[in-house]
Symmetry: C2
């Protein structure tokens, strides 16, 4: 059932050899990332199979985007439980097929085993990037600006809605928020466009403050961000206005899979051009400073204290 | 605790970036394989952590060996249960460190999650091979000879001993057999030496007949093997003589991780030289014929009927 996903990728050897072959273009270097999802930990047992498949793939593609890489192939290890039937696998494969078309990637290999317990999925995604042009977390310097793509807090609010944790609000009322949780959008084109411009980059899986904190740690700088500059969607804005959500969800909620990156002030015009060409909103939310850690100021410039700096999965 | 395993591999970026960088030498192509092990399915819950780690890594390196690749790096996704303590992880890491030294590979990245279910481990191993020189399952032709490295049935007997399934025999009496089950030896040097000589190759994980069957299927040939030519160890020979094991265990037992490969008759001298240089016994066990499937003949030339052609994990 998985073989059609490898069509169009001769290096997969029809999924029937001991390993797959992956050729990098001359001058390129391979970029590889691994993520595992566990049923009941990273997704809910009742989540639709096609969405589970697509999220798993997209989470990995997002890591490649954060490195400025072009996505090429992926491998998948699946430990199936007895409850998984043919219908479930068909939907799972259909989800992967849809995303293969959307992101131009192919299945290159994998392993299928059984498990007494919960469904466990692991994906290895491979891409490539011109050697020396990859984006790392470690290149930020004091005086540089901090930017983000898209909006924040949507996925965390979507999850809270699905869990019935937002009093008086239902998932059906906010499909865009639920969609952000189920189906993140890896910023591959943006990552590639940022080569040579972003000095450091990460994708936001743990939450904006936590992942910016990873850049600070790797780059040995501090960060100051202005909470009111962090972009939020119309739906999230309504939630904030109604008191159903707090700014903390926006700053610390996970699963948004946007990019956070740093760039020299002189790159502002380039970034405006990239935002316009790719039709992806880019917002400057703060600056790098000497020191360490992420400091957040509210609209009045007062330092905010955040109860949690990273997202915990349910 | 895993970071020391990435030392000496700058492309791992200290395990602290979104992905790892892997550079292939010019003219080489990357070879990638994925395997998952599930507690209670592929290993026993009480197996020593260092042996579980090393077997997981070696099983993947064996796939690279079957492609004629040099092993370079690996990635590991680990879903930990609540029972796993620091001591277990220390032993697990120590096992990996020992095998990194032995096989010249490094950890390049991974993912650590929790699971309510059994411990689940997945490894992605990467190697490289000169482009066009990789060994595939698909190159065998009628008239070619079939060879194997090492001995067969030892791992299956080792597992049977551990399970107390061999009446009157204990695991303590046969450490070599138990060792073959716990700690397979990936034939990396042999795989590399077979480039340009073997016309098709596979590693034997499912059992000799089953994995030779994979070569037959991929190459569209048949295979005839002489059961009495299949090499067995001294310990396995004792088991056979005592009636504690049958030839079927030798032919169909899994987990030996030796190589089975095909070569033109004219390559016999080259293969004798390789066997001698690498100090790895190579045995000619049969020949490729027009047709399909694997036929096994006993010492009298009578066709044998095998109840099972592949190995089922306990």
């Amino acid at each position: 059932m998985f073989a059609p996903l490898a069509e169009g990728n001769p290096g997969a050897l029809g999924l029937r050899d001991d390993a797959a072959l992956i050729d990098c273009a001359p001058g390129n270097i391979a970029v590889v990332t691994v993520d595992a999802l566990v049923g009941g930990v990273h997704f809910m047992p009742g989540d639709p199979a096609d969405l589970v498949a697509r999220k798993l793939l997209r989470v990995n593609l997002s890591d490649l985007a954060a490195m400025g890489a072009e996505a090429r192939v992926y491998f998948m290890a699946i430990s199936l439980t007895a409850e998984i039937d043919t219908e479930w696998i068909e939907a799972f494969v259909a989800g992967l097929a849809a995303d293969q078309d959307e992101f131009g990637v192919h299945l290159a290999g994998g392993d299928l085993t059984t498990t007494p317990g919960p469904l466990t999925l692991s994906v290895t995604a491979m891409g490539e990037v011109p050697k020396g042009r990859e984006l790392r977390r470690s290149g930020a310097a004091p005086g540089e600006d901090i930017y983000v793509s898209g909006t924040f807090g949507d996925a965390a609010l979507g999850l809270a809605l699905l869990q019935g944790a937002l009093a008086g609000k239902t998932a059906a009322e906010y499909p865009a928020l639920v969609g952000r949780y189920h189906l993140p959008l890896p910023r591959l084109a943006l990552g590639a466009a940022l080569r040579g411009i972003a000095t450091a980059a990460a994708d936001v899986s743990d939450g904006l403050v936590a992942d910016l904190g990873h850049i600070c740690e790797a780059s040995a700088v501090g960060a100051e961000i202005d909470a009111h500059r962090v972009p939020v969607s119309q739906a999230a804005r309504e939630m904030l206005a109604a008191g159903a959500a707090t700014l903390e969800t926006v700053l610390c909620g996970g699963d948004d899979y946007e990019l956070v990156f740093t760039a020299a002030p002189a790159s502002a015009a380039d970034l405006a051009r990239i935002a316009s060409e790719l039709e992806i909103p880019l917002c400057r939310i703060g600056r790098c400073v000497a020191g360490s850690g992420v400091a957040v100021a509210d609209a009045a410039g007062t330092p905010m204290t955040l109860r949690r700096s990273g997202w915990r999965h349910f």
